[in-house]
Amino acid sequence: MSKSTTLSAVQKLRERIAHLERRAGRQHAALPFGIPGVDSRLPGGGLARGALHEVAGGGNGAIDGAAAALFAAGIAARTRGKVLWCITRPDLFAPALAQAGLSPDRVIYLEAGDDRTVLTCFEEGLRHGGLGAVVAEIARLSMTASRRLQLAAEGSGAIGLAVRRWRRQTETVDFGQPTAAMTRWRISVLPSRPLPVPGVGRACWLVELIRCRAGESADFELEACDETGHLRLPSDLAHGPGAKEVGHCIASA
């Protein structure tokens, strides 16, 4: 069988599966990152709207979730409408979200006492449909709960971002458990690029796409969100010889 016929067969199969999955036939356009290397890895050319996505920090970030929260804020900043942010621990510093492009006028915070309340409010927010994105910081996310969230998001077209954040390092093995989320990301901090003068350069992240439904996993080295919520290729990579192949494909390695 020639290569082109294989490709078209795969394409047809994908369309059929997509048709089966979206029962109502409701199609939501994806939200691109604006970095060709990242967008080409994601089905639909960007982060799917009307879906649940998981984000966690790597290393100590699994506990503090600082980079993961900013990553989520950057995505939420590029949507339209209000953003609901469900938290259990009140240590989120709003000026940092504003610097990631999420204006304080848009974020409604909800302080929930426990994970269960977070999940019900998360689902309620996704179901409503008037919100651009719903972010929730949760530790445990079961298959059933994530399925409910995914269905709620599919119905309304809002982006659901579950920022996974645990109390202890030992609990982070929970991130290996399967969920119904569309994609799963892990954001770890990297040393910033040295500046010609003393000081700290723009923050760098190792963005790992651990799991992606109908796509392959990959990892990227990117610079953190700017004031409009956009990630960027590190400047020495952007115009270098490797610019085309920024995504390092784990599956083929």
Partner: protein, 475 residues
């Protein structure tokens, strides 16, 4: 000092702090008081005006706190807070808020929460604390050591019991009932049972005259959740029709379910904007059905718009250019009734350089201002509260640390930005007059970025302790 009539005598009914310091007590004859303190300021008691004022206060409580409120004359208000305290952040927070507001308006107030009206009445008046919350099930032990005067008995009966040697409620509760009933009649046993929670005591809620209210009485008591939901739907439609005639929208709704055992179960829901949409109100009320305990059945349901505000019909203009922002007030209402209105907020900037003061909570639907935090310096996405002390090695006065130890882990600083000097706000507190913090953004070998500060300017010990703290974590 207040003087009133008790039978033929004129007695002191109440004395303020100054009068009590002069040795005057409630219950002493007015003539004796006048003899003790010359030039005494005496006010005639006006029980009718007092009762009216108490009713007014009860109405205010009804609007603000809970659906079932009644005056408990002469000097109390009884509130059934079931189904409403979550809107105020729990029982303890609600009590504290209540007492604070009353004290601010010049009323000396004491408050207690307990299982029964009798126990709460006793604890509010005779317990040591001004604000007291008794966990469910422990009211009996809580009131055991209170004097028998707390039992709402006639004064003569209390003094007769004292003569017999009864001082505390526990003494009385331990006695066989029959001889007591023979001597004092059924009143004593009834009051004791009410305080101990063995006998129900329905509260007859106060109702303002202009209240918009609909009521439905059932031929057969209902108990199933679906049936309750169906009748809630019917009541809401009737209420919305009543609201429409007066051009109002509901801000706060009370649903009171009268059970066959003459107890009432109440549900309160609030909205951020006036609402007259039957579907939305039904949804809000139906979310709360699980909190209603139907017992042996509900025989009547009352739905009242406790707080209603004018709701003008609005014409919507279709914009050709872009879609209008979707309305999220419905979602806010649902969530606020689930987690409490205080837990739902937006954060707005405050003009302050001190990081923990630069943020203020505002209502989720407050008007958008477009203002954001000033300054180009990066801010951490997690702010520790309070800042955690760290051990740091640094050159004084203005070099960033070379290394620091946080939570037992030593980190070498690879590069750093700073200092960013934050001065104390002398207009807030005197000690902040010369206080200084020097903030640094540091990055360790692993690439983790932290926001640390030194208290003090590094030279003058008066500006701070010169100890180092970790205040935030950058992403």
């Amino acid at each position: 000092m207040l003087v009133g009539r008790d039978g033929q005598r004129r007695v002191v009914l109440a004395a303020d702090a100054a009068a009590q310091a002069a040795g005057l007590r409630a219950g002493m004859p007015a003539t004796k008081a006048q003899a003790l303190v010359p030039g005494l300021a005496i006010q005639e008691a006006d029980p009718a005006a007092d009762a009216r004022a108490l009713d007014r206060l009860a109405l205010w409580m009804l609007r603000r706190y809970a659906p079932i409120v009644a005056a408990d004359p002469p000097d109390g208000i009884v509130i059934d807070s079931t189904g409403a305290d979550h809107l105020h952040g729990g029982e303890a927070v609600m009590l504290a808020d209540m007492v604070r507001r009353l004290v601010a308006s010049g009323v000396a107030a004491r408050a207690a929460v307990a299982d029964s009206w009798g126990a709460a009445h006793a604890l509010a008046r005779f317990a040591d604390h001004t604000i007291l919350g008794i966990p469910p099930g422990s009211s009996v032990t809580a009131i055991a050591q209170l004097p028998i005067a707390a039992l709402r008995l006639p004064p003569e009966m209390v003094s007769d019991l004292r003569v017999l040697g009864f001082e505390r409620i526990a003494d009385l509760a331990a006695q066989p009932r029959a001889p007591l009933a023979l001597r004092f009649g059924p009143e004593l046993g009834r009051r004791l049972d009410q305080a101990l929670g063995r006998m129900g005591e329905p509260i007859d809620p106060i109702r303002p005259p202009e209240l918009i209210e609909v009521r439905r009485v059932f031929a057969e008591p209902i108990a199933a959740a679906e049936t309750i939901a169906r009748y809630i739907g019917k009541l809401v439609i009737a209420l919305c029709a009543a609201l429409e005639t007066s051009g109002l929208g509901a801000r706060r709704l009370d649903l009171i379910c009268h059970r066959v055992d003459s107890r009432a179960q109440a549900v309160r829901v609030g909205t951020v904007l006036p609402v007259r949409d039957a579907k939305r109100l039904t949804r809000l009320l139906c979310d709360k059905i699980e909190t209603i305990d139907p017992g042996f059945g509900i025989e009547a349901m009352t739905l009242a718009a406790i707080v209603a505000e004018p709701l003008a019909e609005k014409q919507t203009v279709t914009a050709l250019i872009e879609e209008p922002e979707p309305d999220v007030s419905g979602l806010i209402d649902t969530l606020a009734n689930r987690v409490g209105a205080r837990r739902l907020y937006r954060l707005a900037p405050v003009a302050s350089d001190v990081p923990e003061r630069s943020v203020i909570r505002i209502a989720p639907l407050a008007p958008e201002t477009g203002v954001t935090w000033k300054g180009e310096w990066p801010r951490p996405s997690r702010l520790l509260s309070p800042p955690e002390p760290i051990e740091a090695i640094a050159l004084l006065p203005d070099h960033p640390p070379v290394s620091f130890t946080w939570r037992g882990v030593r980190r070498r600083v690879r590069c750093a930005d700073g200092p960013e000097r934050v001065f104390g706000e002398w207009w807030k507190r005197d000690p902040e007059l010369i206080a200084v913090r020097d903030y640094f953004r540091v990055e360790d070998d692993a690439g983790e970025r932290y926001w640390i500060f030194r208290s003090g300017d590094g030279e003058d010990a008066a500006t701070g302790s010169h100890r180092w703290f970790l205040h935030g974590i950058f992403g």
